[in-house]
C-alpha cells in the first residue's frame, strides 16, 4: 500500500462505505487463507515445510491444481518481483518443501545480514501454465476449453521465509475456540438460525453469536532490543457477517483472546457454514484452525 494511503485512511474515503465491495472475511470463492512455515525464520541449508489453509466452499469438491515457485532475495518489491523472476513452476499439492540455499546470505550488507526466500504459489480449479495472464499473475489458469478462470476459481500469492543467523520465530499457538462461550471442538457443529438482515448489529439477538479463540501468552514473542511481535487474529466464514475480519489480542485477561461477533446474514441454508481462524505474527509466524456450524 502506498504511503499516501495513510492520509486517505485518516481523512476517510467517502466511497469506501458506499462502494458495495465484497468483504474479505467472507469466503465464497477459491481462496488461500494462510500458508504456514514450520520454520518462519530459517538458516541457510535448512528445509522449510509449507502447509496451506485453503477453502473452496462453493466448489463442490472440484479438483484444484497447485504450483509453486521459489526466488532468493528478490528485492524490495518482493512478491511481484519474485513472481516476475520465475522461470519454472513445480506442480504439487497444497504443501511444499523449500530448502534455503547455502549462499542465501552472501552479498548482504554486514550491518543487516537478513535475507529472504520468496515462495510464490498458485491454486487453480483448472490447468496452470507458466504464462502471465492479464491480471498480472505470473501464471494462467484455464478451464478445459482453454478459457481463463477468474477469481471464483483462481488465486495466486506468496510468502517470505526470513533467512538470518541467531534468530528463531515460533508459530503462535492457538489453544481453544469458543462459540457463545462454549468450547468449540472440531467435532462439534453449533446450530444456528439464519438472519435476513445485512449486518450483524441488525440481526435479532438470538441469531448473533460471539466467537472467541485464545492463544498462549508466550505466542507474542519479544526479540531483538526490546521489540515485541505484533500478533493479529483473523476470522473467516463461508457465509454470513462478522463484525471484524481481524482483531488484535485482548491482553487484559490472563489468556490473550481474540473475539468478534457473527450472524448468519442473508444466508443460503442449502450450504453448510464453515469458519476459519488464522493467527499471524509480523515475523511470518502463522497458525490456523477451522470449524463447522449447522443449520437449525
Amino acid at each position: 500500500m502506498k504511503r499516501r494511503a495513510l492520509l486517505a485512511l485518516l481523512l476517510g474515503s467517502l466511497a469506501c462505505e458506499a462502494s458495495g465491495f465484497e468483504t474479505e472475511s467472507v469466503v465464497d470463492t477459491l481462496r488461500v487463507l494462510a500458508v504456514q512455515a514450520d520454520l518462519p525464520i530459517a538458516v541457510p541449508g535448512e528445509t522449510v515445510h509449507l502447509s496451506t489453509l485453503w477453502a473452496d466452499p462453493l466448489g463442490n469438491g472440484r479438483p484444484i491444481s497447485w504450483a509453486w515457485g521459489v526466488c532468493v532475495n528478490p528485492g524490495a518489491t518482493q512478491i511481484p518481483a519474485c513472481a516476475a523472476q520465475l522461470r519454472s513452476l513445480e506442480s504439487g499439492g497444497d504443501a511444499f518443501d523449500v530448502t534455503v540455499p547455502a549462499d542465501a546470505l552472501d552479498g548482504l550488507p554486514p550491518s543487516a545480514p537478513v535475507g529472504e526466500v520468496g515462495v510464490v504459489f498458485a491454486a487453480c480449479a483448472g490447468t496452470l501454465t507458466l504464462v502471465p495472464n492479464a491480471t498480472g499473475a505470473p501464471v494462467s489458469c484455464t478451464d478445459a476449453k482453454g478459457n481463463a478462470i477468474g477469481r471464483e476459481g483462481f488465486v495466486w500469492g506468496g510468502r517470505r521465509i526470513i533467512v538470518v543467523q541467531g534468530f528463531r520465530n515460533q508459530n503462535p499457538t492457538l489453544t481453544k475456540i469458543f462459540f457463545d462461550g462454549v468450547e468449540w471442538s472440531p467435532s462439534y457443529a453449533p446450530p444456528i438460525a439464519p438472519c435476513s438482515a445485512k449486518n450483524v448489529e441488525n440481526c435479532p439477538a438470538d441469531t448473533q453469536h460471539v466467537i472467541t479463540y485464545q492463544m498462549t501468552s508466550d505466542s507474542q514473542e519479544t526479540y531483538g532490543p526490546g521489540l515485541v511481535e505484533d500478533v493479529v487474529g483473523w476470522f473467516y466464514v463461508s457465509q454470513g457477517s462478522l463484525a471484524d475480519g481481524y482483531v488484535r489480542p485482548d491482553t487484559s485477561t490472563s489468556v490473550p483472546t481474540f473475539q468478534t461477533e457473527y450472524a448468519p446474514t442473508l444466508s443460503d441454508t442449502a450450504h453448510p457454514v464453515q469458519m476459519w481462524f488464522v493467527l499471524r505474527d509480523d515475523r511470518g509466524g502463522v497458525t490456523f484452525a477451522q470449524r463447522r456450524l449447522s443449520w437449525r
Binding site: L6, F21, V32, V232, D244
Partner: protein, 786 residues
C-alpha cells in the same frame, strides 16, 4: 467640514532605495448630495508616473458609498513631485489615506441647505468655508506607504497577491495561501494534501518562506488553512521558477509569505470566526509610532462538530485534526533608514484517531494513529535602505521543527530539527547603470530522529503490497548539518530600458557531496513604455537541491549522494493594455538531472540503492490576463499548459510525473456593488492527475491481505478532469470610525461536481470504485475589525 489629508511618509524613502513622491498640488474634495453625513478615512492605491501625474487610483478598501468616488475624483487631480531613484524620476505606486467629512445632514427645521443649490459650486464653497473654520490642515501623518518602482524583484517572474485580494478571493475562504492555486504555474494539489506544486516540480522541490526564512509547512494538516492567518499578511509572492540567486536549495519554486508591519496610528484589533477556526489579533504603537507591536493567535474548532458530521456521513474515521498557530511581532524604526523587526511565530497540528479494522484490510493500518507536527521560529531582522540607494538586509532565525507519526508497531517516526538560518545581503549602486548585490545565506542545525518503518519505495516504484509482516528498518540518528551559500548579482543597464542581471550562487550541503556553482541571469527590456507598456524578459539559471533526509540515511537510503540539479529557462512578454489590463505570456523549460532515484538492490539494508541516476523535464507556457482592480471589479484569467516527465533510471523509459497536469485553467472575478456588498466567482478546470492502473491482486500470506499488481510503467493512467465553481458573497458594514464587520459566505464546489480524486479497490483488487473529493461545501465566516 474639515478636511484632513494624511499623506506620504519620508520614512518610506528608506524602502527599496527610492525617494517617494511628494505632493506638489492637492485638490479640493467635491461632495455630492449622497455624501451628506458621511465621514471616514478612505485608503487608496495611487500610481504616479515619472512626470508626477496620477495615472491610476484604486480603492484599497472600497465600501461602495459616495465617499469612494469623492476620494478617487479628488486624488486624480493631485499633482506630485515624482518618486526618484538615484536622482532619476520613476513611476511609483503609493498608498494614501484620506480623511473625508461630507456635508452635514439637512436639519428638518432648516430651510434650504447650503447644498440645496444642487450644484457642486455650493458644496465646494461650503467645503472651503469649513476648511477655513477648521484652521490649517494638520501635518502629514505617517502611514503604511510602499514605494514600488519598476519591478524591483530580481527574479524574472513573481506573482504577488496582496491581502485585499486574498481576503476577498472566491474559493479561498479567506485563507492566506489557497488562492495561489488560481495563479498560472501553480498546479492543483490533491484534496487534503496541502501540497504546493509549481511548474511541474515535486512538492518537496519547492519551498515556503515567511519573511524570507524557510518553514517546513505551508498548511495546517490536510490543507485546511495556511499556517499564518490572512490578517497578518502583507502579500504573498509566488516564484514559479527561475528565481534569483538570493534563494536556493530547491529545484522548484518559492512561496514567500511577507508579513505586514503592525499599525502605527493606534491600537487595532481583529477577530475572525468561521466554520473551521477562530482567530484574534491586536496591534498598535507603543509609546510612539516608531515602535509597534502585534500579537495574534488562531485555533481550530472543527473537532467540535466533525465527529457528528462523520457519523452521519458514515465516514470511516471520526476524529478531526486540531491545530493552532500564534504570532508576535515587535518592530522599531531606528533612525530614518532602518527598521528592526523581531518576530516569534509557531504552528501546531495534532490528530489522534483510532483506525478500526473495518477501514483497512492491512492490519498495519489499523490501531491508534498519532500525528503531531509543529514548528516555531524566532526571527530578528534589520532592513536598511539609504538615500544613496544602498540597501542592507540581515536576518537571524532560530527555531525547531518537530514531527511525530506513530501507528502501533508499524510506523514510528519522531524527528526534531533545530534550525538556525542567517542571511545578510547588501545592494550597492556603483554607477547610474551598474548595481551590485551580494550576500550570504547560511543554514545549519541539528537533526535528531528515530524512524522505524518498512523500507520506503519511491513513488516511481511499483506498490510493495501490505505492510504487515514486511521487514522493518530502524534508524536512530543525530545529524549536524551546515549548508552555507554565497551569492552575487550584477545589475546592468547597458542601454535605456534594458536591464541585465548576471549572477551566481555557490552552495554546499551537509547531506550531499560536492560544491554547486549556479550561474543565473535574467534580462528585461521595455520595448514600449507608457500606458500600453510592453516588456520582454528572459531568464536562464542552474539550481541545486540536496537529497531528502531519508535518501541519504545510512539505513533507509545511501550516504554519499550528490545534489539534484536543474537548468531552468523562461522567456516572456508582459503587456499592459487599455489602462486596466495586464497580459503576460511566459513559456518555460526545465531540465532535471542528477535526480536521486532508487533501484532494487538486496545488498542494501533497505533493499534499495539510491544514486543520482534520474533525469526529467518540464515545459509549458503560462498565460495571464489580469484586470487591474477598480472601484467595482477585480479578477483574472490564468491558464497553464505543460508537460512533466521523469526517467527514474537510465535503462527505463520516460514516464509521466505523478503531478503532471496538462491544462490548468482558472477564471475568477469579484464585483463590488456598493453599500458593502460584493459577489465573486471562480471557475477551475484542471486535467486529472496521473495514476497507476492496477491489473489485479495477489494474496500476501504474511500479511493476510492482498497486494496490487501495478500496470507498468507507473502513472500510465489519468483520472477524469477536475471542474469546480466557487461562489462568494460578502457584506461589509462600517460600524464606527474605521471599524468594520464583514460577513461572507464562500461556497466551494457550488455545482457539487463529483471530482474523482483516486480509486478505491475491493480487498482483492478485482473491483474498484471512484473516490470523490470535496462535495459542495459552504464556508461561513465573519471578521470584526476595530
Amino acid at each position: 467640514m474639515a478636511l484632513a489629508v494624511a499623506t506620504l511618509s519620508a520614512i518610506a524613502a528608506a524602502q527599496q532605495g527610492a525617494v517617494p513622491p511628494r505632493i506638489k498640488a492637492d485638490a479640493e474634495a467635491v461632495y455630492p448630495e449622497a455624501a451628506r453625513g458621511l465621514e471616514r478615512e478612505v485608503l487608496l492605491v495611487v500610481t504616479i508616473d515619472a512626470e508626477g501625474r496620477v495615472t491610476d487610483a484604486q480603492l484599497a478598501e472600497p465600501t461602495g458609498d459616495a465617499l469612494d468616488d469623492v476620494a478617487l475624483d479628488m486624488v486624480r487631480r493631485y499633482e506630485f513631485f515624482p518618486a526618484t531613484r538615484d536622482g532619476k524620476p520613476i513611476k511609483s505606486r503609493i498608498k494614501m489615506r484620506l480623511s473625508l467629512h461630507g456635508p452635514p445632514q439637512e436639519s428638518p427645521d432648516s430651510g434650504a441647505s447650503e447644498a440645496d443649490a444642487g450644484d457642486a459650486g455650493s458644496v465646494q464653497a461650503a467645503t472651503t468655508d469649513a476648511s477655513a473654520d477648521a484652521g490649517a490642515p494638520p501635518a502629514p501623518e505617517v502611514e503604511d506607504v510602499h514605494v514600488r518602482g519598476e519591478r524591483s524583484h530580481e527574479s524574472p517572474t513573481v506573482r504577488t497577491l496582496d491581502r485585499t485580494e486574498i481576503e476577498s478571493m472566491p474559493g479561498g475562504a479567506g485563507d492566506a495561501l489557497r488562492p495561489i492555486e488560481s495563479l498560472p504555474g501553480v498546479s492543483r494539489a490533491p484534496a487534503f494534501s496541502g501540497l504546493i506544486i509549481l511548474r511541474g516540480s515535486a512538492p518537496q522541490d519547492s519551498q515556503v518562506f515567511i519573511d524570507r526564512a524557510a518553514v517546513p509547512l505551508a498548511f495546517h494538516f490536510g490543507g485546511l488553512a495556511a499556517v499564518v492567518p490572512t490578517e497578518l499578511i502583507d502579500q504573498v509572492d509566488v516564484y514559479p521558477g527561475n528565481y534569483d540567486v538570493q534563494y536556493g536549495r530547491g529545484n522548484g519554486g518559492i512561496v514567500d509569505i511577507g508579513l505586514r508591519s503592525p499599525a502605527r496610528d493606534r491600537i487595532h484589533a481583529v477577530a475572525k470566526f468561521d466554520l473551521i477556526d477562530g482567530s484574534a489579533l491586536v496591534e498598535g504603537p507603543i509609546f510612539d509610532d516608531k515602535t509597534r507591536f502585534l500579537v495574534a493567535a488562531r485555533r481550530s474548532w472543527i473537532e467540535a462538530y466533525f465527529p457528528w458530521v462523520a457519523q452521519n456521513l458514515s465516514l470511516g474515521v471520526t476524529a478531526s485534526p486540531v491545530y493552532y498557530d500564534y504570532q508576535a511581532m515587535l518592530e522599531r524604526d531606528l533612525g530614518k533608514h532602518t527598521t528592526l523587526r523581531l518576530t516569534f511565530l509557531g504552528s501546531n497540528d495534532n490528530v489522534s484517531v483510532y483506525l478500526p479494522p473495518s477501514q483497512s484490510s492491512d492490519p498495519a493500518f489499523a490501531g491508534q494513529l498519532q500525528n503531531e507536527t509543529d514548528f516555531w521560529r524566532l526571527q530578528l531582522q534589520a532592513d536598511s535602505k539609504f538615500k544613496s540607494g544602498a540597501k542592507l538586509f540581515s536576518q537571524l532565525s532560530v527555531g525547531q521543527d518537530h514531527l511525530l507519526l506513530d501507528l502501533g508497531s508499524t510506523l514510528n517516526a519522531d524527528s526534531t530539527a533545530t534550525r538556525v538560518q542567517g542571511r545578510v545581503q547588501g545592494e550597492v549602486p556603483i554607477t547610474k547603470a551598474v548595481r551590485l548585490l551580494g550576500g550570504l545565506d547560511l543554514e545549519g542545525g541539528q537533526w535528531d530522529y528515530t524512524l522505524s518503518f518498512p523500507a520506503i519505495p519511491s513513488e516511481a516504484s511499483p506498490d510493495t503490497g501490505p505492510l504487515f509482516g514486511q521487514k522493518k528498518l530502524t534508524s536512530v540518528r543525530s545529524l549536524g548539518y551546515f549548508d552555507p551559500a554565497a551569492f552575487a548579482n550584477v545589475e546592468v543597464f547597458p542601454v535605456k530600458r534594458l536591464r541585465v542581471l548576471l549572477g551566481g550562487r555557490v552552495d554546499t550541503f551537509g547531506t550531499a557531496e560536492g560544491v554547486y556553482v549556479q550561474p543565473r541571469m535574467n534580462v528585461r527590456y521595455v520595448l514600449r513604455d507608457g500606458d500600453d507598456k510592453t516588456t520582454l524578459k528572459a531568464a536562464l539559471g542552474l539550481y541545486a537541491q540536496p537529497p531528502q533526509i531519508n535518501e541519504s540515511d545510512p539505513v533507509f537510503g545511501t550516504p554519499g549522494l550528490h545534489a539534484n540539479q536543474a537548468t531552468q529557462v523562461s522567456i516572456g512578454i508582459e503587456q499592459e493594455a487599455l489602462r486596466h489590463l495586464e497580459i503576460s505570456v511566459e513559456p518555460f523549460y526545465k531540465r532535471l538531472f542528477d535526480l536521486v532515484t532508487q533501484r532494487p538492490d538486496p545488498s542494501q539494508p533497505s533493499g534499495f540503492l539510491y544514486d543520482n541516476e534520474g533525469t526529467g523535464f518540464a515545459y509549458g507556457a503560462e498565460f495571464l490576463i489580469k484586470y487591474k482592480p477598480d472601484r467595482h471589479f477585480s479578477g483574472w484569467i490564468a491558464y497553464t499548459i505543460s508537460r512533466s516527465e521523469r526517467r527514474d533510471l537510465p535503462e527505463l523509459p520516460l514516464r509521466l510525473f505523478e503531478y503532471d497536469q496538462t491544462h490548468v485553467f482558472s477564471a475568477l472575478g469579484t464585483y463590488r456593488f456598493g453599500d458593502g456588498w460584493s459577489v465573486g466567482a471562480r471557475v477551475r478546470y484542471v486535467t486529472g492527475n496521473p495514476y497507476t492502473p492496477i491489473l489485479g491482486g495477489y494474496f500476501d500470506a504474511d500479511a493476510g491481505d492482498y497486494g496490487p499488481v501495478d500496470k507498468l510503467p507507473v502513472y500510465s493512467g489519468r483520472l477524469p478532469a477536475f471542474f469546480s465553481m466557487d461562489v462568494r458573497v460578502e457584506k461589509q458594514w462600517r460600524l464606527f470610525k474605521d471599524s468594520t464587520l464583514q460577513v461572507y459566505l464562500d461556497v466551494l464546489n457550488a455545482t457539487n461536481n463529483r471530482n474523482v480524486e483516486s480509486f478505491t479497490y475491493q480487498y482483492d483488487y478485482q473491483v474498484h470504485a471512484t473516490a470523490a473529493g470535496l462535495p459542495i461545501l459552504p464556508a461561513l465566516g465573519a471578521r470584526l475589525t476595530l
